[in-house]
Amino acid sequence: MTITETIDQLIKEFNQFDDWMDKYNYLIEMGRSVPLIDDTQKTDANLITGCQSRVWLSSEYKDGIIYFTADSDAVITKGIAYLLIRVFSGHTPAEIVDAETTFLDKIGLKEHLSPTRSNGLLSMVKQIKLYAFAYQVREKNS
């Protein structure tokens, strides 16, 4: 699936919920069920601190594709981190660099990406883009 296709699918999934509680229930379930980042990857270097919740993000580059895993100490944050991983993981650096990041607006979770939330998610998106950019530069130089 392309990034745009995953985003469209997420929007469809979230459109089923008209009640905010159902939406959060879904996020909480996601947050609980997603595979955790490997504990060895929960290092300070992979830690993105927000003052509200902490997010760990780790990346791996294999055969031209970037794979992300993430975790958070807060379940809702982790659920949203999982959405971001679903969108961005498993794509080429160029695809990730070019991808739009406003889809959380469309699924009614915009407030979680606002800098004032300081839950680490905005920094996580920036970090994902930064990794992609760095791998892209490395590809060009090799």
């Binding site: 509680m21 909480i28 003052c51 509200q52 919740s53 807060a74 379940v75």
Partner: protein, 410 residues
């Protein structure tokens, strides 16, 4: 049961227009009063009235409006002075808020009185605003920051404080009331201990002025800082009480218009206190708002305010303690209506996010007190901070919201 009639509280609530708004379609339950309090109509009106009818720059004009604005501005200085029982209104300096007042003293006092090897004492309880300016002053002067520890209940350990005091101590900076735990510190005792060896005491009163009457002469403190927005007044204004004997000896904090006496290119001499510390055009409109807030509090009376806040504190504490898995952080014997707590197994951010959607505004996180949180071995808390316009029914909604959170994350 509270002695205060529901009718009285309803009428008080009507003074605050924002309290009748809804959040996500639900009536707002505002329990973030330690971050900022809401504003009564009289405060909002005082600001808009100033701009509509009275706006002119102060201290500079012979014309009618300027004279009138200056008179009204200086009148609020007198009001603040009476409100905190300062020795004279010259001891009241207007600032942007508590933070600027702390920076003023940390810069001006330390510039003159702090030397290499000296010590400044703060406490673990402090807000970052009452740590960082002192820390940087120490770095500049190669002095040392010493820290009063807290007991597990959240009280300052005064015995340890006694041991920290010595002839190198140049100032003690402590909060009147902890914004994170609600602890009311025994400022009078701390002042007594410090003054015994001639050390002045700076009090961060950001949370102090809204919860009870403050008498700086009775407390005996040398400085007292506050923010209007935490006492039902506007944002962007606050002040510093400083004993004139200290203020006279301190260098100005900022330089510019209003604070000067004579300026030539060879030499500038400074105005008298308090003007020496008020460079530039002041925030006159918000000073008017502050004046209106003080009038409002005086009219309401501390008897009502403290009775209502004590009732809410006791009621909410009991209700919270009745819930399984709730841990209240900070159980000092003397507390303001601020309750920090944790829900077992549920991250405060998760809980706060859901409670927000239920219309209950609480604060989550470290409350700008990271050293305190580290000391307690936690990352943060949920904090419900109450004001006299809150009700027991609202506390019940907080409790309901916590129950929903517990079910959702069970």
């Amino acid at each position: 049961m509270s002695e205060i009639s529901e009718e009285k509280i309803r009428s008080v609530r009507n003074d605050f227009p924002i309290l009748s708004r809804t959040i996500y379609g639900k009536p707002l339950v505002y329990f973030d009063n330690a971050a900022t309090t809401q504003k009564p109509n009289v405060v909002i009106d005082a600001i808009s009235n100033y701009y509509r009818n009275d706006n002119a720059n102060v201290h500079r004009g012979v014309h009618y409006l300027s004279q009138q604005a200056t008179g009204a501005f200086e009148n609020v200085r007198k009001k603040v002075s009476t409100f905190v029982n300062a020795g004279s209104s010259d001891e009241i300096i207007f600032t942007r808020g508590a933070t600027e007042a702390i920076n003023l003293v940390a810069c001006s006092y330390c510039e003159t009185f702090l030397n290499a090897g000296d010590e400044i004492i703060v406490s673990v309880l402090e807000h970052h605003s009452n740590i960082v300016p002192w820390q940087v002053a120490c770095e500049r002067k190669s002095a040392h920051l010493k820290v009063i520890p807290v007991t597990p209940d959240g009280d300052l350990d005064l015995e340890a404080f006694g041991k920290l005091l010595n002839d190198r101590t140049k100032i003690v900076a402590i909060s009147h009331i902890s914004n994170a735990l609600g602890t009311i510190n025994d400022v009078a005792e701390i002042v007594k201990m410090a003054h015994n060896i001639g050390v002045p005491v700076f009090v961060d009163g950001a949370q102090g002025l809204s919860h009870g009457p403050v008498d700086v002469q009775k407390l005996g403190c040398d400085f007292y800082a506050f923010s209007a927005h935490k006492m039902y007044g506007p944002m962007g204004i606050g002040g510093l009480f400083g004993k004139s004997s200290w203020l006279e000896k301190m260098q100005p904090y900022q330089l510019g218009g209003e604070m000067i006496d004579r300026v030539t290119f060879e030499k500038t001499t400074y105005n008298e206190i308090p003007y020496k510390f008020e460079a530039g055009t002041p925030n006159v409109a918000d000073v008017m708002g502050l004046g209106a807030a003080i009038d409002y509090l005086n009219e309401l009376g501390w008897d009502f305010i403290t009775a209502q806040e004590i009732d809410l504190l006791e009621y909410a504490t009991a209700q919270l303690q009745a819930i399984e898995g709730i841990k209240i952080i900070g159980m000092a014997a003397h507390k303001a209506a601020i309750i920090s707590f944790l829900i077992d197994g549920i991250h405060f951010f998760d809980a706060g996010t859901i409670m927000d959607h239920l219309g209950v505004a609480v604060r989550t996180g470290s409350h700008c007190t990271q050293p305190l949180m580290n000391n307690l071995g936690i990352n943060g808390t949920l904090r419900a901070s109450m004001a006299f316009y809150n009700t027991r029914q609202e506390v019940d909604k907080l409790i309901d919201a916590i129950q929903r959170v517990k079910t959702l994350f069970a």
